[in-house]
Symmetry: C2
Subunit: 391 residues, 2 copies
């Protein structure tokens, strides 16, 4: 095939979106419900008249649906502008109380950077080679800082690896510490029975679940007290002021309800997509390593080191081929630095730079998974050939 | 007319929405643009691939439109989840630096409550009977607390009264103080030439301008430094982390562009609606006082004391008649306390309780204004008759 023909083929290639840990496409039912709230259903939930009452009434079924997905009571759910605000709310309160914040080395910056805002405020614990928190080290740190806040991801956005939240909660509770789990990449991706509310705080975001950007949830356990970050009109029972994002919240409710209703089959579908992708890739190309494969993972995420290949170059070629994935988490992928999560797992800097994340959603098809694997394999072979790397 | 017939007439009455200071109906063009971003245009602006780039590119025209409406450079605009978050961002930074926050007695709680969060952190200056800040008192307070933050509304959400922002900026600047203007009720409601960027910070919200809830702006002057409230992925040049609310921001842009393009005629229309409403009301019913009428006001807001009438009862009867207004600002109207703004203006508690706010938008018609005035007058007469009040 001539170069021009190859280019033409590439430019006409349909999009395969495998960056669902960065953001997901909102469901049609979500968009419809939002359009209603932005049209005839508009209103300020704090207004005392009929239009305000209707707006207020629309909040509660949404809260119910969000709560159901994580098996908590609706009164333990506060709506925020996203997981970042929710994480910052809890961590800022801990810092005000001069608590240490104990994190792993693989946190999203809305946990890691927020926790490290003051000198000495963050204490880091390691991850093992599978990406699991080092519980022995956590115990030691808790012994030194018993009344701290343990703040960590439930599932890693980069590898999908799930942390042992029950063990972490037990340990923290023994030492009188609080727990915050960043569930942005876990909620809706774990079986219902794993949503036990033993934590103090659980945060997540709507736009990772086929809902809109700009809305998230802060869930809290019965013994936890939420200290507001935003002061003002006293919305959300005084815990989060600011006019409620009614269309966003309603969209959030629809997205959570949809996931709740088909959770088991959604998880199964995601697992099949990811497993088929990984299997085909392993078949088609040598010298790859699936990071976190030894651990329990959410079923939609594949983090793969293509040994000897420059990950950024590979991502760029895949981009040109309309296969969208990312090198590290979206919020930091503009900066060319290796994944801190992979480094914390003991992956070498070189191998971390050779790694890409592929994240599936229920809107992907098996054709997406298999075709993507084929394209990735072909691009990897191309790069290895061009740069003379032998694997 | 029998009681049943009267009820039937009421229940069939078309809605007259005069609570646009609480929230406004999004424009059709806003909803369309958002639906595109929630559909085929979805993406995370931080993603490095083509879909992310398109999302990133969509942010900048929106920022440009928002900036144009307030005559500032786009690089001096940060998107937030709303005016409450923007106000809290600036005020929290001032409190961290142990600055006093100087407010009037008529602030929205996202200024007033945020400023008073620490003991002794807020210093209050009065309003005169027209609702204008007492500049002599402000000077005295600045003399005692020169390096403070002066944080006040540009236009009052309750009366529409405009503060003398230039004089306030001059005074503050003389004393080395910073200024924050809460522009939620002013932006898009004042002539272009009044948008001079002499302030340090200007905040406003999209949903008061026929855009969606859940998005706002923090604008800053060239000498001002924004300290983030939310830490994380480093979005908005590190000043506001959290995945950008792309559909909300794009909707914000469309709403601001629409207002910018027809600002003069919009202002004229609002003025005509409000003036006709006030004139007809004054003609039809005695014993009313328009609060702030002696001052310059934004053209859409009417705050009226119906002497001797219980404002809550009047609002309830208007609600039943499908005329929607509010007693005090939406975020506090669930609590039956008199308007602090009116009290700060020297209005008696009784008269404050007898006051309602009517706020127009460009989606209102002259028919709305005149019909509403007629209904209000009739309900006021009814209540006075029933409760035997003589005016």
């Amino acid at each position: 095939m001539s170069k021009r023909a190859a280019e033409k083929r590439t430019s006409m290639r349909r999009e395969i979106y495998l960056d669902n840990n960065a953001t997901t496409r909102p469901l049609g039912s979500v968009v419809d419900a939002m359009a209603e709230c932005l049209g005839d259903g508009f209103g300020n939930p704090s207004s005392p008249h009929a239009r305000g009452r209707r707006a207020r009434q629309a909040l509660e079924p949404a809260r119910q649906s969000v709560a159901e997905l994580v098996a908590i009571e609706p009164e333990n759910v506060i709506f925020t502008a996203g997981a970042t605000e929710a994480n910052n709310t809890v961590i800022a309160a801990a810092l005000r109380h001069e608590q240490k914040v104990i994190c792993t080395g693989g946190e999203h910056p809305s946990v890691g950077a927020a926790a490290g805002r003051l000198i000495g405020s963050r204490v880091e614990v390691g991850l093992d080679q599978d990406g699991i928190v080092d519980l022995a080290r956590l115990r030691d740190v808790l012994l030194a800082h018993p009344k701290s806040l343990v703040a960590m991801h439930w599932a890693s956005g980069e590898t999908g690896v799930l942390q042992p939240v029950e063990e972490v909660c037990e340990l923290a509770s023994y030492f009188g510490a609080q727990t915050l789990f960043d569930g942005a990449q876990a909620v809706g991706r774990v079986p219902r029975e794993e949503c036990h509310p033993n934590y103090d705080f659980l945060t997540f975001s709507c736009h990772k679940l086929h809902g809109p950007q700009g809305v998230g949830a802060l869930c809290f356990g019965d013994k936890a007290e939420v200290e507001p970050l935003l002061f003002g009109g006293g919305q959300e029972a005084g815990m989060r002021s600011g006019t409620e994002n009614l269309p966003g919240i309603v969209g959030f409710g629809v997205a959570c309800r949809a996931r709740h209703q088909s959770l088991d089959s959604d998880l199964e579908k995601l697992r099949q997509l990811r497993d088929s992708f990984e299997a085909k890739l392993a078949e088609d190309v040598e010298g790859i390593r699936i990071n976190g494969k030894g651990a329990r993972r959410v079923p939609n995420t594949s983090n793969i080191s293509f040994l000897g290949v420059d990950g950024q170059a590979l991502a760029a070629r895949l981009d040109a081929a309309n296969v969208f994935c990312s090198q590290v988490s979206a919020c930091s992928s503009a900066r060319p630095s290796p994944s801190s999560t992979l480094l914390a797992m003991g992956v070498s800097e070189e191998d971390a730079f050779s790694s890409l994340r592929f994240s599936f959603s229920i809107l992907n098809t098996m054709k997406d998974a298999l075709e993507a694997a084929e394209i990735v394999a072909s691009e990897v072979r191309f790069l290895r050939e061009v740069f003379g790397c032998v694997q």
